[in-house]
Amino acid sequence: MSSLHGSPARATWLWLLLIAGTLLTLAIGEEGAAGIGIVALLAVISQIKGSVIILDYMALRHAPLLWRIVVPGWMIAVWSLIAIAYWSGLPR
């Protein structure tokens, strides 16, 4: 039997990590924090959570290289565009 989808224990730990990330995002939101640094932080949190979903839950960790590049690459590209847009809108 292949173990493509990992163990329940690992999935549970990762779930806790995801929830923690969400609470952190919420806390930043409720705090009303802003700025390029905060955007970078949110992007990193989102990227980490996304990587958990992509590599573990979607099991792309075991997929051919192309897929391990394309799907996480999508997320990096999207966050890069968001960051550029945010930066372009900063007062100067």
Binding site: S2, A11, L14, T22, T25, A34, K49, I54
Partner: protein, 201 residues
Amino acid sequence: MLAADTPLPSLDTPPAGTPRLAGDLAIWIFILAELLAFGAFFAAYAFTRAHHIELFTHEQQALNRITGAINTMLLLTSSYFVVRAVQAAERSAPAPCARWLVAAIACGVGFIVIKLHEYSAAFERGVTLSSSPFHMFYLSLTFFHFMHVLLGLVILSALWLGARAGRYRPNDMNGLESGAAYWHMVDLVWLVLFPLVYVIH
């Protein structure tokens, strides 16, 4: 739907360590197309926001971040349950597989209920697709995603029927893995959408 025609028992279990894509190539191509559409919409939001910063910041304040975060957690939990369902099928346990799927569906329904609540509040404030650029994006992005949650729930329901019929086995996971991948995509997109639309200002 997805589970309706799983293929003949696929290739023999590949040797351990061989790279394998979990789910059908067809669903992955579809997922990529969906990701591109969402990605383009996200970028459009971000660049439009850069031209209307005060408007976006102001109107974003009216959104309820708490329910947004609860919805995030519902989707994450739902994804987790789907993973457990897949793991159950991977060790030939159809009954737990079906139960985990029910739990996942319940979370998805919770998301829908909260979202509808959020929409009705927004409509009361007079939010429409044409009331402002922010409202346009808020409604378009969340509604586009909302429709995906509904589609995902239809798929999960089909998987649940398949699981109850004992259709998914360690050497025949294609239908289940494909549906699961789609559901995770719906979750993944929300992980960008929530901070982008509800938090960043």
